[in-house]
Subunit: 247 residues, 2 copies
DNA sequence: GTGTTAGCTTGATCCATGTCAACCGTAAAT
DNA sequence: ATTTACGGTTGACATGGATCAAGCTAACAC
């Protein structure tokens, strides 16, 4: 049932089309900081929504790139495949985050994006995004920030893979998830993991057995309660200490 | 001694000011693909050159961000520091590559950029770059490609750190350097490393002893000849095989 | 209900890389 | 030419996480 916006009747019209101006993720996503005017111009661009079923690909490595994607709801992973068959999860993405920026450089996607639960995405045709951001300074700048944030995030992962031990990595991972759930209005202390131990391990450069053991250890020490994919964080500071305490 | 360009007398004039239009790295760097007209507009923007002595910082983590930097000559490393004192080298950059894009997201640099030899950089004020790329489509698109390439590169490093063993990492590292030197017109088979074993190790998530042992092993096996920082690649295919051969 | 399967946990053992330590080579300083 | 210092090499040993293996749990199909 469509809701009317308290401020402006014009907006309540746009509720009917599925649009950024109406999206409760707009403060986390591409529209951040845009005026009402500008939002409506973005709406024209982001017209295609798509449902992706759990396990399905949003895009595959090797496919032509022509759009980036904003996650409207759901949960994704991206992974890269090496010629020799090894692969690695390069990230987990949740609502409000953008996918596909890896494809800009060569106009071919370099990784796979796979839904970890039934999800919904907004496709943003890239050349039209470039046009619009030539006109809307705020949009241009925000998009640059988003790409830069991805680079900074990657540096964090490199740090994690290069210098941290297994338990530090897992603690960092849990704290990061918790923080991102919080930003989306969910509990910071209790959530369901959408990914398997193997996927977590791949992301963290560990084997699934090591991930499992670390979960058990955290539980024994009273930092968290784990039951399969259900996680409760009992002691945030404990985890933080684990993350940065050298042995 | 200034040279005249065979095509156009106008260009020989611009030789006098130190400018992109005159730079032999322009095909590797930001000016890629621009017309003569557009190049001259970029020249106005990239007016400040700076020399950075070996060991000096180009910028430091925590400093305000307001420009990105193109390397005109020389060699840099970037590193990230964790609160607990651990650090990691996140990249090595050479002539024609851009530095500083990590700072766009928060307007504060998140890593240190340090010259590994006496170097020269061109400062590109970021807000002016954004303005100009609102006017020059090609510039805008190329800049997006450069940022995206950085993301793809980072994924490669994550792959390396997450799934490769010590010798595979070092082989990948050497092949990557070789390929980048080649793109700059240098020998693909013979070069001097600008970084120490410790810096290589930090980048590859290994200890310096492990790096040193791997160099020795490669030499014993006839893939390379090492003498301190001087490297000769004797068998590229051997290295490639090492890179992707699981044990 | 029962069977099936994918994912998770736990134990025993092994090995790649880290750690610690001694020594060597090269280049700059005196 | 000698000293000094930094970076690199090599060896011996320790260990964190991988590997191999067995069994458990939860969810889902039938």
């Amino acid at each position: 049932m469509p809701q009317t916006h308290p401020l402006n009747q014009e907006i309540s019209l746009s509720v009917i089309k599925t649009a950024c101006s109406n999206c409760n993720l707009r403060e986390l996503c591409l529209p951040f900081g845009l005026s009402l005017d500008e939002l409506e111009r973005l709406d024209d661009l982001v017209s295609t929504r798509r449902r992706i079923k759990r396990g399905d690909h949003l895009y595959r490595a090797g496919e032509a790139f022509d759009a980036i994607y904003a996650i409207r709801s759901g949960f994704f992973k991206t992974d890269v495949l090496l010629e020799d068959g090894r692969d690695q999860v390069t990230g987990f993405q949740m609502a409000g985050e953008l996918l596909g920026m890896d494809g800009i450089s060569t106009e071919v996607h370099t990784c796979n994006a796979i839904a970890l639960e039934d999800s919904e995405i907004c496709a943003i045709p890239f050349s039209r995004l470039e046009s619009l951001s030539r006109e809307i300074h705020t949009l241009q700048h925000h998009f640059h920030k988003v790409m830069s944030r991805e680079i900074v995030r990657d540096h964090g992962v490199m740090m994690l893979l290069g210098t941290m031990r297994a338990e530090e990595r897992l603690a960092a991972f849990l704290l990061n998830l918790s923080q991102r759930f919080t930003a989306r209005g969910f509990s910071h202390a209790e959530f369901y993991l959408r990914m398997t131990r193997e996927e977590i391990g791949s992301y963290l450069g560990l084997k699934l057995e090591t991930v499992s053991r670390a979960f058990s250890k955290f539980q024994e020490e009273g930092h968290i309660a784990v039951q399969q994919k259900h996680i409760r964080i009992l002691n945030v500071n404990g985890l933080k200490a684990l993350m940065s305490h050298r042995p």
